[in-house]
């Protein structure tokens, strides 16, 4: 999501640390967060990954000769480049006046229990209004044993219920519905009620009872154009396809093409494909001796969220997919 720094207001783009050194970007791709799911007194170690990837239509910044450029943060007063240790987080109290808020201060706002995904209740997910659903993540098993993970998956599939939980990750509290699908746990973040507007707040006119003749007419239209399911082809990103076709055409003719292998200049997004990260994460477990008798224990160190500063969080993981870009355009004004 190279565009996120410009657009992803909701994700706090300015909180993203500056690019890491080339060597660090080759580290093993890991999830955004590791911790435990609490199911009663059973704890299930998991690693969290985004379930959606950024839009294919992500543009890069290139130099005159087509070389991919790097992005550096700098101090506008000194003009000096800044590394991750040269940054602090500030809250703007009035124009150009900031109070500095330290990581430890924010961390101490989250009680320990909020650092884990504690399934507090189990609900019928169809009873949740679709407006609540924000973003999807996979929760993959982590640690030495899959047994408790598989037990929870099997139970949720049988009961057809989703577990509701809140947890804190990267200085933000998330409310999620944990669902099981095809043997894998997925977390769908749920907006809070105050993040959703009501028709009254927007100022929509009071609802009027439509004439039954009009409703019947609309019903007939719906019936005539009814379909049982969606065809994936209808959800294609045609704009991205056109863009790629154009780029391929130019590449074939050798026009404006550059080969460059500078990892330092890359955006991490392109380095590792999310799908292969997920597959690798699942496959690496097959080799390990799983199904130990004891479930892994909850240790404080395990469920700490990886801070935004860790290089490990910035690979596959990273922040949720390409919302920023799309939304910057889609936001109604």
């Amino acid at each position: 999501m190279p565009e996120r720094r410009r657009h992803a207001r909701r994700n706090g783009p300015e909180r993203e640390p500056p690019p890491q050194s080339p060597a660090k970007s080759e580290a093993r791709a890991r999830g955004l967060w590791t911790g435990t799911i609490g199911f009663g007194l059973v704890s299930i170690p998991v690693e969290l990954f985004p379930a959606n990837r950024p839009r294919r239509l992500s543009l890069r910044m290139l130099g005159d000769d087509g070389t991919p450029l790097g992005r550096r943060y700098y101090d506008p007063e000194s003009g000096k480049n800044l590394g991750k240790d040269d940054l602090v987080r500030g809250f703007e109290v009035s124009k150009d006046e900031f109070v500095v808020v330290k990581d430890e201060e924010l961390e101490s706002l989250a009680p320990e229990k909020s650092r884990d995904i504690e399934l507090s209740r189990f609900v019928d997910v169809r009873r949740i209004d679709p407006l609540y659903f924000e973003r999807a993540y996979f929760l993959l098993p982590w640690g030495t044993s899959d047994k408790a993970y598989r037990l929870l998956v099997a139970t949720m599939e049988r009961t057809k219920r989703a577990g509701i939980a809140t947890f804190v990750m990267r200085e933000k509290q998330y409310r999620i519905a944990v669902l099981a699908e095809h043997g894998i746990l997925r977390a769908e973040t749920l907006r809070y009620a105050d993040e959703l507007r009501t028709p009254e707040q927007i100022g929509l006119p009071a609802r009027r009872e439509p004439a039954s003749r009009d409703v019947q007419h609309m019903e007939a239209v719906i019936e005539r154009h009814g379909r049982a399911g969606v065809d994936a082809r209808e959800l294609r990103d045609e704009q991205a396809e056109r863009l790629l076709a154009l780029a391929r055409h130019k590449a074939e003719r050798g026009q404006d093409v550059v080969r460059a292998e500078e990892p330092g200049a890359r955006d991490e997004d392109n380095v590792i494909d999310l799908m292969s990260v997920l597959k690798r994460s699942l496959e690496s477990r097959q080799a390990e001796p799983g199904n130990a008798e004891r479930t892994p224990t909850r240790r404080a160190g395990e469920s700490k969220h990886r801070s935004t500063r860790g290089p490990s969080t910035r690979k596959a993981g990273r922040r949720p997919p390409a919302r920023g870009r799309k939304h910057a355009h889609a936001r109604s004004g």
Binding site: M61, P76, L106, E112, P210, E234, L235, E262, N270, L278
Partner: protein
């Protein structure tokens, strides 16, 4: 405000689009530690670290790893979709035909004249239990969305494109020895004991409220206490943990 027309089989419903989402996040800025000023960013030549001025910046795509193609502004413009006000309904699907993973961002549609048709469409969607799969172009971008009824009004939720969604079915789920039947039974009992209605309106983002309070305290120059997390106790076997959970719930119910 964006205005469009929902079109289905010759029926036209003019609408206005409103975001259904309100941003409540407490936003922070990254500041330089030294001067406490918001940082800026610049594009640099990776080899030299030399800044590249604006007029020498170009857009492009990485076709495959390490292969970059530069695209001129006119070329980028040529792939943009044709401008249009149409929200075209492709067809009507049963509610639930789309997995939750597809949903992106919700908007309310308000009537833009022709109120009768607007409320008739909303009501018809409700009665039929269907959603419309729609396409439209807004601010030079293609969108696919789900058109549905919500409290008597029309709601449009943008959908992710096909290549953005990773299906769980395409991954290999963890497998191993068959699960213990007794543990499965206990786990189901535990889910049953914790079964509830969603009741999502009642919950607040307490952490956000604490962050808000923290920045306000600091803005007024008050000191803030920092606490570090405690360690957690060790855990027994799955079966024991399940038994203890059920016993605990039973006790709570009797109390």
């Amino acid at each position: 405000m964006w205005k469009g027309v929902v079109k289905a089989d010759g029926v036209e419903v003019p609408v206005k689009l409103f975001s259904a989402v309100e941003d409540r996040t407490v936003h922070f800025r990254l500041l330089s530690k030294q001067h406490h000023v918001p940082i800026k960013q610049r594009m640099v030549e990776p080899a030299s670290g030399e800044e590249v001025p604006r007029e020498h910046l170009h857009k492009g795509v990485e076709l495959e790893r390490g292969l970059f193609v530069k695209l001129e502004p006119a070329e980028l413009e040529s792939v943009q979709p044709k401008e249009s006000r149409d929200i075209e309904v492709l067809h009507f699907l049963p509610r639930g035909a789309l997995g939750l993973q597809w949903f992106d961002r919700p908007y309310y549609l308000g009537p833009d004249g022709a109120d009768t048709r607007y409320f008739a469409l909303a009501e018809a969607l409700r009665r039929k239990g269907r959603i419309g799969l729609v396409r439209w172009v807004m601010r030079n971008t293609d969108y696919v969305g789900a058109l549905s009824e919500h409290q008597g009004y029309l709601v449009l939720i943008t959908l992710h494109h096909a290549d953005e969604v990773i299906a769980a079915a395409s991954l290999t789920a963890p497998s191993g020895k068959p699960l213990d039947a007794r543990e499965l039974t206990m786990a189901e009992q535990l889910v049953g004991a914790l079964a509830a209605e969603p009741e999502l309106e009642a919950e607040h983002d307490e952490y956000r409220e604490r962050v808000r309070a923290l920045v306000e305290a600091k803005a007024h120059g008050r000191k803030v206490k920092v606490v570090s997390p405690r360690k957690k106790p060790e855990q027994p076997s799955i079966a024991k943990a399940l038994e203890a959970s059920l016993a605990h719930l039973k006790k709570a119910a009797n109390a």
